[in-house]
Amino acid sequence: MTLYERFVAAFIASDRWKLYISGVGITLEIALFAGILGMLIGNVVALMKLSQTEDGKPTILNYIATFYVDIIRGTPSVLQLLIMWFIIMASSNNGILVASLSFGINSGAYVSEIVRAGILAVDKGQMEAGRSLGLSKAATMYHIILPQAIKNIIPPLGNEFITLIKETAIVGYVSLSDLTRVANQVASRTYDAFMPLIGAAVIYFIIIKILTILLGVIERRLRKVDNR
């Protein structure tokens, strides 16, 4: 077979390109839902982890958050996905929902560490100044600390989202036809792994390259605010 015939077999014959498109759709759908969920969980957990009493002792929220982050970081995400699919949400047959939840809960742990580090990197004098004026801890956090922490948080958060997109390649384990699984299926149908697998790799690469460029623009904008 010529290279051209292999290309046709992998992408054009039997309208196979439609499979790749729906695969990309599923990949992005899961990544997007999981990303949003991860950010929500991450922010809440970060604040829980940073909560302490007035004399600096950890609170019960603190222990809960630490426990969650430890569990998530201490187990493989494939296993978390399988547990979610076969045990926790065994009654659901909505694979995208289950995968989004699983990845969202997973990502939340990493996002929480990113947010926590971003908040801790803000000079502690900022909090002291706010408190010395009579502002509450929450008000100082909201008006002073978080707006400054965002600059520290955005770059690693973008990185986490990129990781998340690639990590969704394991949803084939719960029979979702994402980009990776589609490519694999085409390969077994045509007895030719080269074209579909390299093709899928190129598609992932393009998606992430576009995201990287977007992130670069955002980062430069944020930095500009510093140079005024």
Partner: protein
Amino acid sequence: MITVKDLCKEFKNPDKSVNKVLKGINYEINKGEKIVVVGPSGSGKSTFLRCLNLLERPTSGHIIFDGLDITDRKTDINKVRERMGMVFQNFNLFNNLTVMDNLTLAPVKLKIMNETEAKEKATELLKRVNLLDKADVYPASLSGGQKQRIAIVRSLCMNPEVMLFDEPTSALDPEMVGEVLDVMKQLADDGMTMVVVTHEMGFAREVATKVLFMDYGNILEENTPQEFFSNPQSDRLKEFLSKVL
């Protein structure tokens, strides 16, 4: 106005040993007084000052502000802090806000003034320190001296009854020390009650009603500036003065 009773503060070191920074301080600050606290590094003077508005929570002892025991857990410390201004060594202006927003944030959010009143007050105070032209810039573009003058104004916008200064000139270029001290002198002349931790002996001599000498977590000596500098009692203070004067 502020009564300090048996104030102790201990920090736990990572190796579990205890570092006693304040060892039972008793002192009474009256309205209108300007107390200047001097002493070597590590003597506990900054910790003493930070205990006065509970930025450090004392290990034991009491601080009574205007009849209210602020070390009591039931006291709303935020309400107390509204009445006590604080100026830091590192300025700590809010980097994400313009100068004007730095000044008006707390009075407006705490509903002490509405936005118009707060802006008027801020404008008037900025004029007094000759920085009105900086109202709309961000702190990053200011010099150290300008930042510290703004920080003083930020506290003043709350109409405090007492002002605490934690080494306000120690992080400044020598050239800029004067402009900050001038603002503080002005404030003293206006009758503000002040507690100032500083290494500026000239300021202590000129402005203080009382000078305290702290070392190893105790107040070793307390006197009027004339007596303090010309007639020191303890050997430790004599030694200290011989080094810094």
